[in-house]
């Protein structure tokens, strides 16, 4: 049980470090949002569940924390992405498609 929990926690910490690397390296706010949401949500989930498996009598509270992160982290990052889109942050010059513009044209046509 101890070994399984340690392995799961290790995988989670590696995902957290890769999320930080993605936030540092990627060229654009929206790309950084993607790295900062997906990697850190999976990494935090695996780390917290791994700690719960290491100590089996802590499992209920760690499950509550993990479920809370799994719900709130995409919500807050979606709010940030919508806010940066509304405040006019440009896309990077290598991006090829912008679905939000197409959606606005579609809404004007209706």
């Amino acid at each position: 049980m101890q070994i399984i929990g340690t392995v799961i926690t290790g995988i989670g910490t590696v995902f957290l470090c890769l999320g930080g690397l993605g936030v540092f390296r990627l060229p654009d706010v929206y790309n950084r949002l993607q790295a900062g949401t997906k990697c850190t949500t999976l990494g935090a989930f695996l780390t917290i569940i791994g700690v719960g498996i290491m100590h089996p009598d802590w499992l209920s509270k760690t499950l509550v924390i993990a479920l809370f992160i799994l719900i709130t982290n995409p919500i807050s990052n979606h709010a940030l992405g919508r806010a940066s889109r509304k405040s006019g942050v440009p896309l990077c010059d290598r991006s090829v498609v912008d679905k939000a513009d197409e959606f606005e044209e579609y809404k004007e046509k209706q």
Partner: protein
């Protein structure tokens, strides 16, 4: 010993996000970096509770997760022009 390696890996992720926070051209970049740091820190608090072997310390992680969510949503509402 393994726990110490985990702490070093998580702290290097915090350092990379902080470099982006210093470098980022506008306010939304910095908000994204600080939100990522908040999520990484919640996992770090749970791992430290496991290292110190105290059950009470998990409450701090729960409160932390709730309140940083409120802060991020407040910053996002400001950037969207209207609080």
């Amino acid at each position: 010993m393994v726990d110490f390696v985990f702490l070093i890996i998580i702290t290097s992720g915090v350092v990379l996000c902080l470099l982006r926070m210093l470098k980022g051209p506008a306010a939304p970049d910095r908000a994204v970096a600080v939100d990522t740091i908040a999520t990484i820190t919640t996992a770090l608090l749970v791992l430290l509770g496991s290292i110190f072997e105290r059950y009470v310390y998990l409450d701090v992680a729960l409160v932390y997760a709730v309140l940083t969510f409120i802060g991020s949503v407040a910053i996002a509402r400001f950037l969207e022009k209207g609080i």
